[in-house]
């Protein structure tokens, strides 16, 4: 445990330590750079957690939403539980970051969404000064029967490209459950990103995985997603939007398995390539039941000519038009 570690995570309003305040302020600035609204973290009715390096700067639980966080040598272990049938009005806000130029942050998290609960999460991960920072996420998600979880994670990595982001997620969606995730890394450099996501979906369950990334210089973007539609009528979608330029590389591997009657899966990948960048998409379709259906579509390469010329016909030059198309795609 860090010597600064509190005996237990406190809410923002309970903190009095000046050193804590300085670090918290630095995190808030970075949080806003990543697209977050820091004032929200001071609202008691909104569940939230702020984690800097291996320190839990704040954690606020609310009725039906429990956030337990424990500091580890290089990170934090967090258990987030939403009680059954809880309808959470405001998204749970999570802020992860490393402010120094170097560091390792390992987040071990577990999300337990109780039966019939509905909850959204807004996570922001920020590494604004990173030269050599590694951010490792090891998440387990359990979406209970007829529960809904929407999880949106935005990243800001600064302009140095010195970040490795390695998120691994194993998820289970129970009967009638709904899981939506969106991962955005579209501002600043990517550095190295390697997403590894596997999800099993039970009967009537739905999963939607959206990934957006914008790579430049020598960034490396890797996505490996596996959706197993195991229950009758389960549905799954993976949607990937990537733009790469300069020497950046993008490799997208997605698998959808239709393992039960009426299971429907679709994989949709668009990667725009400019300069000497390289992109690939490898979709794998597996069907184990003759009443299941899995499809995929991919568009890899240059910007769509018709979209480009439509915008140019409004007076935009080619570079402006390409930027607008990419911004829209990643927006």
């Amino acid at each position: 445990m860090s010597e600064h570690a509190p005996t237990g995570p406190k809410s923002v309003l309970q903190q009095r330590d000046p050193a804590w305040a300085r670090e918290f302020e630095a995190m808030m600035q970075a949080y806003e750079q990543a697209g977050g609204r820091s004032d929200v973290l001071r609202v008691p009715r909104i569940a939230s957690a702020v984690i800097s390096g291996n320190r839990v700067l704040a954690a606020n639980s609310t009725e039906g939403v429990s956030i337990e966080a424990e500091e580890l040598e290089n990170g934090v272990r967090a258990l987030i539980t939403v009680a059954p049938d809880t309808k959470v009005d405001y998204p749970v806000h999570l802020c992860f970051g490393v402010i120094p130029k170097e560091g390792l942050q390992e987040i071990v998290s577990e999300f337990e969404i109780g039966e019939g609960a509905e909850v959204g999460f807004l996570a922001h991960c920020t590494f604004p000064n990173a030269v050599d920072v590694k951010h490792v996420m090891d998440a387990k998600i359990h979406v209970g029967k007829n529960a809904t979880m929407r999880y949106s994670e935005g990243h800001y990595h600064g302009d140095m490209g010195g970040v490795e982001v390695l998120p691994t997620t194993r998820a289970q969606v129970d009967e009638g459950g709904w899981l939506e995730t969106e991962f955005d890394l579209v501002h600043g450099r990517v550095g190295r990103l390697a997403i590894d996501f596997e999800v099993d979906v039970a009967a009537g369950g739905v999963v939607e995985l959206v990934t957006k990334a914008n790579g430049s210089a020598e960034d490396e973007i890797g996505v490996n997603e596996i959706v197993r539609l195991n229950g009758e009528g389960a549905r799954g979608l993976t949607k990937t939007r990537v733009a790469v330029r300069d020497e950046a590389v993008s490799e997208i591997y997605t698998t959808a398995e239709g393992n039960a009657p009426g299971a429907v899966g679709h994989m949709d990948c668009t990667e725009i390539v400019r300069g000497a960048a390289v992109a690939c998409n490898v979709p794998t379709v597996v069907v184990r039941d003759d009443r299941a259906r899995v499809t995929h579509e991919a568009a890899i390469g240059s910007v769509n000519r018709k979209e480009l010329e439509t915008l140019m016909a409004r007076g935009l030059d080619e570079d402006e038009a390409v930027d607008i198309i990419i911004r829209g795609m990643l927006g």
Partner: protein, 262 residues
């Protein structure tokens, strides 16, 4: 060139892989004019529109295009648009993540909310319901079509080329599109309008008939319709939808050289 001539295509020939899509087009559009371009499917109307806009793959093999007395033959799409020439595509593109309001603002030198709202109203779309929507698959084909027309209207170009502005639009709203074309003309935009509908052509001051990649007749819309009915239909009856194709045994050549199909 006459003083009131805005656009002139002179002996324009365009080749696409495997086909000559324009074969000696001569076309004049005057300032303030609504000019209807008529012709059967495959006669080259859309190719003419894309050639005018300078779209990729539609470079001239021969001839030239003059716009406001300036030779724009070698200019790209952006340069032509900056001179005041634009195109509403027959099947508008989809833009993931681009809001309708932002899309309309792109062509305006100084984007104004009031003008965006006016443009949407001009195509019978409620501004408050559409400005925040995305120009993608969430909109129907007809909605995207109207938004494309609204974007052209908001741009206030000198010449708007409208490729079948009535296609994909429900019949009940056809009058809105006809009114839009007239509003464009009143606002100082000349219009070259490709259409298959007689009602739309009635809005035009002038009409030209295209056949097998060439303009074969120009006059009032009524005159051109009459020309088509009297001279073209017999061949259509004999030969199907391509009355001047190779199977016509050289008829096409006479169409081009003599302006007659008999």
């Amino acid at each position: 060139m006459e003083n009131n001539v805005l656009l002139q295509m002179e002996d324009v020939w365009v080749e696409r892989p495997g086909a000559e899509v324009l074969r000696g087009v001569d076309l004049t559009v005057r300032r303030g004019e609504v000019h209807a371009l008529l012709g059967l499917n495959g006669s080259g109307k859309t190719s003419l529109a894309l050639t005018l806009m300078g779209a990729g793959g539609y470079r001239l093999a021969r001839g030239r295009i003059l716009f406001e007395d300036r030779d724009i033959t070698s200019l790209g799409v952006t340069e032509r648009a900056k001179l005041g020439l634009t195109l509403a595509w027959q099947e508008p593109a989809r833009f993931e993540g681009l809001l309708v309001a932002d899309y309309l603002a792109l062509g305006m030198e100084e984007p104004e909310r009031a003008r965006i709202e006016e443009a949407l109203e001009a195509v019978a779309l409620a501004p408050m319901a559409y400005m925040g929507r995305v120009v993608d698959t969430a909109l129907s084909g007809g909605e995207r079509k109207r938004i494309e027309l609204a974007a052209v209207y908001a741009m206030r170009p000198r010449l708007a080329v409208l490729d079948e502005p009535d296609s994909g639009i429900d019949v009940l709203c056809l009058e809105d599109i006809m009114a839009l074309v007239q509003r464009m003309a009143v606002a100082g935009t000349s219009v070259l309008m490709i259409t298959h509908r007689d009602e739309m052509a009635e809005v035009a001051d002038t009409a030209s008939l295209m056949c097998a990649g060439a303009i074969i007749n120009t006059g009032t819309p009524a005159e051109v319709r009459e020309y088509f009915a009297q001279r073209c239909r017999p061949h259509e009856d004999q030969l199907g939808s391509q009355p001047w194709g190779d199977e016509a045994g050289g008829t096409y050549r006479r169409v081009i050289s003599e302006g007659d199909v008999r």
